[in-house]
Symmetry: C2
Subunit: 422 residues, 2 copies
């Protein structure tokens, strides 16, 4: 490549902006045709995909990638099936674009309402999983956005092979190739360029480790839909049914340790702690979960001491911190102070306590009598998710198709003039 990385990215950006006008006005049928054709293309290209992926895996092994990283990189037949299924599922989702709501008359005689439209161009920056290429491209396409995808250099051959299938899908639906572009250079300057082109890129979605997300957020001059920690709490209230609470807390921690909705801290009201904690601790011990408790907790059960740092840690592992709190106020205060504003749950049968917890806990999902591990776009009925936002502006919580759109005002008149209709 003789052009500079900046020139190359500018070219991609300009092409994406142009393509965004076309995909924004594409019909639902046309977008679905592209998704289904891409699914078929993936199905026909299993051999190429496996071959390209083998190159990445070989290079990864040579470069000493960790086994967990190699695992994420692998495009197994099951993962190819899942990508194909994902595309077909996105095709079945309702198209959010163009919907007009609340169009109503104003005293001046004009009608004012809101129309849902695409954001424009979405930049996705992700790490080793090549299947993100399909997840992200399909959601952006269905929501009428053009996409620039920047995957990790360790997955470059796989990402190119997947992108070629998407291109076949776009061509089959007569959509421009620039609707979905994969950054072909592995130069890290490409990321710097992508996140500082507000004229060509409307929003950046970083998907990956905390380091990546912090770096992107710090340097971006484009809005970022991001998700940092998931330090999630279950609070067992004085008026909880303890058998239910135990099941909920156990599920919240052990459904999967590595998901962002996993419970990291269990808060227990002092009045039920002695009844609740021994059986709960026994169940966790049997499962091999390490417990770290406050002083009062350790008076009741065997646990390592929890430090200040524990309350602010996302373990993503078989470790749980436990604190006994004086009352509901202290529970809410603990969550708002130490939590990450992701997902927190109260277990109680008391309507007033539930109402206060739901209103006052400042998190993207607040839950009642259900485990935090339910925080997920599929479980919430979004059909698919591009991430879980812990920001407050624009999208909060699991982000599906709607999070990739915005609303503009539509105003319809028939010659009404301002200041002359009274």
């Amino acid at each position: 490549m003789t052009e500079s990385v900046l020139d190359y990215m500018t070219r991609l950006g300009r092409a994406a902006r142009e393509a965004s006008r076309v995909i924004a006005r594409a019909s639902t049928a046309q977008k679905n045709r592209a998704l289904l054709a891409a699914a078929s293309a993936l199905d026909c290209a299993r051999a190429e995909l496996t071959e390209a992926n083998a190159k990445d895996l070989a290079a990864g092994r040579e470069n000493g990638l960790e086994p967990a990283m190699l695992d994420r990189l692998a495009l197994t037949p099951a993962r190819i099936d899942a990508m194909i299924e994902g595309l077909r599922q996105v095709a079945t989702l309702p198209d959010p674009i163009g919907a007009i709501r609340d169009l109503s008359y104003r005293p001046s005689g004009i009608q004012v309402g809101k129309m849902r439209v695409p954001l424009g161009v979405v930049g996705i920056i992700y790490e080793s999983r090549p299947n993100v290429t399909i997840d992200a491209a399909s959601l952006c396409l269905k929501s009428g956005n053009a996409t620039i995808l920047r995957g990790g250099s360790e997955a470059i051959h796989s990402n190119r092979a997947v992108a070629a299938c998407i291109q076949r899908g776009l061509a089959a639906a007569d959509l421009p190739a620039a609707v979905v572009q994969v950054v072909e250079t592995t130069d890290r300057a490409a990321v710097g360029a992508l996140i500082t082109m507000p004229e060509f890129v409307d929003v950046i979605v970083p998907r990956g480790g905390k380091g990546l997300i912090e770096r992107v957020s710090r340097d971006a001059r484009v809005p970022v839909i991001k998700h940092l920690d998931g330090i999630c709490h279950v609070y067992v209230d004085a008026l909880a049914e303890l058998a239910k609470a135990q099941k909920i807390a156990f599920n919240a921690k052990t459904y999967r340790y590595g998901i962002c909705g996993a419970m990291e801290t269990l808060l227990v009201h002092q009045s039920v702690a002695a009844d609740f904690l021994p059986a709960m601790a026994a169940q966790f011990a049997e499962k091999g979960v390490e417990l770290r408790g406050c002083e009062r907790t350790r008076n009741l059960i065997a646990a390592n001491p929890a430090t200040e740092e524990d309350w602010a840690t996302e373990y993503l592992a078989a470790i749980l911190s436990i604190r006994i709190v004086d009352d509901l106020d202290q529970a809410i205060e603990h969550i708002n102070h130490y939590g990450s504003h992701h997902t927190d749950s109260i277990v109680t049968e008391h309507q007033g306590h539930a109402r206060r917890f739901m209103a006052e806990v400042d998190s993207s999902s607040v839950m009642l009598n259900t485990p935090t591990c339910f925080a997920d776009g599929f479980e919430y009925g979004l059909g698919a998710e591009i991430g879980i936002s812990t920001d407050k502006l624009h999208a909060r919580g699991p982000v599906g198709l709607e999070g990739l759109t915005c609303e503009k005002y539509v105003v319809v008149g028939d010659g009404q003039l301002r200041g002359q209709n009274a």
Copy 2:
């Protein structure tokens, strides 16, 4: 003041964060009580307000402030009336906080919905108009947010006097004083601190000139709800009723030259230009509007030549640029290229043309057969507005109470567990 500006702003920020928890859970009645009590306090404090304002005006004259700036600074009896009326009106608006929508069952048995909640702490940075103190504080208070207000140093005495009335309102409703704080220092470092405290401030709303907004947007490490240019267009389509089009275009330009919704460029389809432009130009000439036209326009009417720069200029004055376009596509392309994504209108009776214009013009308001000067929170029925956003994320177009809130997910179960309900 012996503490540093940074320490001072941190103290304000921490107090605002604490107060935000209280105002977030305040009842509608309590918030309205504070608004109405602040209105009464203003009414009783007319003498103090006038006296404080006189100090600012005297200092302004001494410092050689321009007459337009002095005018904006003046708290006339009519403006005090308007502030009082504004507070009373915000008290009558529906309270958006706590509303839960779309709470519905998922296959797992959990119910998922969304609850509207305050953003938290809103920082407002504004220039010489002291009445912004009331506008901003009242909207933030009603939407359950704590506010930090940083007005211009030239209005410091007026802002303090207005803030004292708000404090009386808060006290009357038993709300903490830190729900609305006015930055007491005129040190410019205070702005720098305010826009870089994401731990204490959730969003910044700059209100003022383009210089202020650009500076704030560039340096902020907190989301900004901003509005830069309003380069608004009216497009007269081939299938417009020309008499209606002339009235709409005239109103769009001349209702008020200085508002952001004023038309700056008139686009005319080539097939109607010869019929439309001469009478239109005569009406503008009579009003004293300077016309700047493209070459084809100047073949039909007297106008100065329009340069490339004209298409990208927000005049906010009695100047209008005019371009004849080949077709609807060129009109849409011109608007998306040169416009500011604020407000644009098509005049046509052709349903298909209207539908394409409304869908494809990428602006915060798209209009049909109505002048762009209708772009306004009151005209749209928001009750009041804190600004007009030309951003796409979060709030787009006129921003009222809802723009100062966000939605979080609420999830309600009765012991459902993930992965165990199939």
